[in-house]
Symmetry: C2
Subunit: 256 residues, 2 copies
Amino acid sequence: MKNQRETLVFFLLFVLLKMVMCIKIYNHSRYGDRLAELSPSYCLSWRLAVETDNIQGWRTVPIQCLHDIEVYMLGGQYASDVSLIVDHISNYVDEIVVSNDGFDAWVLDVDDTCLSNIFYYQGKRFGGDPYDPQAFKEWASRGVSRAIPQMFQLFHKLLQRGFKVFLITGRDETTFEQPTLHNLHFQGFFGFERLILRSEAYKGQSGIVYKSEMRRKLVEEGYRIWGNVGDQWSDLHGQFVGNRTFKLPNPMYFVP
Amino acid sequence: MKNQRETLVFFLLFVLLKMVMCIKIYNHSRYGDRLAELSPSYCLSWRLAVETDNIQGWRTVPIQCLHDIEVYMLGGQYASDVSLIVDHISNYVDEIVVSNDGFDAWVLDVDDTCLSNIFYYQGKRFGGDPYDPQAFKEWASRGVSRAIPQMFQLFHKLLQRGFKVFLITGRDETTFEQPTLHNLHFQGFFGFERLILRSEAYKGQSGIVYKSEMRRKLVEEGYRIWGNVGDQWSDLHGQFVGNRTFKLPNPMYFVP
């Protein structure tokens, strides 16, 4: 009887201990969720400030945000963000009455707008490493960037609706014209009106100045720029920006 | 002996059951966290698209995002976002060489830039309900909006650095001049150069047109607008926007 009582006491103590542990784990998980929901995140603030052009001229992603940006780019949120923006662009496209004169135009940027460099930046800690012109040159020369699916669909919708599509890129003309054309074609971007690259005359100029100048020429040719899509504010600021501009997300690098 | 063995078997079964339950709860919590980290959120995408001006002319927050916006506004992320932006504004202010001629100026918006309407919008489901001019008029007439602390500090820093601060608001002059002045003073906003409200002449005009016109007058008076802070893109677009513009977050309402 004594042994039996001892076993019972031991058993009851153990049950009590286990219950306390379970409650602790359960509460921790609930508390953790609540914390995750409520705890303000520096990296979310940093990304918002970058995307709204409040922070300019940054060279690398803050070290404490490397993981956040990786999760953002690969975990689905980036894709969700692009999808929602392209849905809204598409609605806007539907509203436009396209004329028959062939002068209704759209301007699209290339890098991280039509073609994704995410696999390149994966090797650069998603923007944690500073810009490496030589490595990027090698990457871009290979012409293996993938189409951003939502933008690929938009591109073809624009063509179907009768717009002339101009791709304006800051890439250097001498070095990148052939691999960029090859890359675009290989990814199914056919039928654009012109691929405009940075000629010698605009070397060293900021994106805003160079791209404004390229758009000015289009407007002088008689084109009406209905929309302008880019992942950098320098694609969308300056002159002749177009009737509507659309900013795709890019927390990995900044182009002035 | 038989009783003792039965107790022991019962005890072991119970321990096993408890361990399985604990592992399940623990895994669920880990899986939940992982999911929360990876699952793309429509409401995050919507908020980013609004803050980057990709979505324009929206009237209410999507119904499925009401909880997200409430958590965003009250849970600390909004405050964190404002803090990070104001830190960057402050760094920019430090770089400016202020002249002695008294013509170095900053332009600040009032609603949800200097003064917070969060308690008003709490009663409007944080933007879930459409704009209610009568209710807002009653709220604004009471003059009980609180200062946004980070902007309050920036305001006084600007004065200390020798800038002339112009507050330009879309609020109607006839109705709101006195309560707005009272509210600003009560919240410690003293020493601004001018509070500019919307006079009869600009009634019904868009924020972009009206505010561009107000800034044009300042520039014609000789002021150099170094910076311009607002929670709406209509505060920051148009003409004479200033040397740098800064967009504070506001996912609760849109002003054209």
